[in-house]
Symmetry: C2
Subunit: 197 residues, 2 copies
Amino acid sequence: MKIVIVGASGTMGTYLTKSFEKEHEVIKADRNGIDVKVDITSPEAIESMYKSIGDFDALICTAGPTFVGPWKSLNDKTFRNGVEGKMMGQINLVLIGQHYIKPGGSFTLITGGLTHEPQRNFANASAANAAVEGFVRAAAIELGNGIRINAVSPTVIENSPQYFPFFPGEIPVTMKALEYGFRKSVFGANTGQIIKP
Amino acid sequence: MKIVIVGASGTMGTYLTKSFEKEHEVIKADRNGIDVKVDITSPEAIESMYKSIGDFDALICTAGPTFVGPWKSLNDKTFRNGVEGKMMGQINLVLIGQHYIKPGGSFTLITGGLTHEPQRNFANASAANAAVEGFVRAAAIELGNGIRINAVSPTVIENSPQYFPFFPGEIPVTMKALEYGFRKSVFGANTGQIIKP
């Protein structure tokens, strides 16, 4: 299978790449470029990425920039970090990528537990996550050619201990569980699902 | 109670205004202006509206423009209708309005059943609704001074029969039930809730 991982140099992307590379052809995409460079806040950059990759079987996105900070610093401008990044960045990966992906292919996006379990400082991520989840459910009934779409929604993850203090009461998701969430989406048959690893 | 209704000339806004005016001071805000003019896609226009109103006890928003149309016409540009309208328009009403509302006041936003029950042609609304719901849950733990926030999430509504064919299987929500959903938010004590009328 030819799998594109967007955000491949991030904490999740690195882990998933290592695991999936053993069995599949993995195209590593990132803001700074590994196999291919992409800034997901730019629809033009997304289109260029797909053109350079050619057809593929699955796209995984683990890139989702949002604004993290005190509520009082949240305004129209800071809120745009999550709107352009985690939300529209991922939505545009699908709206544009549907014209490049193989029939029967799949998109797997990243959201997070903040959708339903808010924490202080993360309102922007709560909104962006929720938007992507609403989009995933809607896109699942619209995408043609047997193309599937799901989101993986972890809480704080094992390999990001710097975030633990901001997620009181959340048991960190192991990297292995996270990987299996993505496996369920990519290699399974579900669509329109929010997978909680 | 001094209640601001944004979208006051719309189908929901007209009904709510008639009902609430019997008992309360209602400030009717709308794109075309009734008591006060506001284009919610502009943070500057929102700030001007609040300045002209002065302090108030509750804000209800029933205005939520989104793009409705075939999946194939959905792209970054058309998607912005819901991002700037129903999503950021309502989020900015809260981020800016928190500095004008009275302590103990409330915000009640409009979302919709499409968050979890998608229908063809409405993916933009599914994403915008979901974003607002994620924001409502997060804002509820961040807003100070006893300020509350909820969303009312109807399916298709009784007084919009032109939409019935697009919502197969959805029993239309009566205007009275919708009104009571808003009453629960404005006059009750809950916060961070998605109220299904």
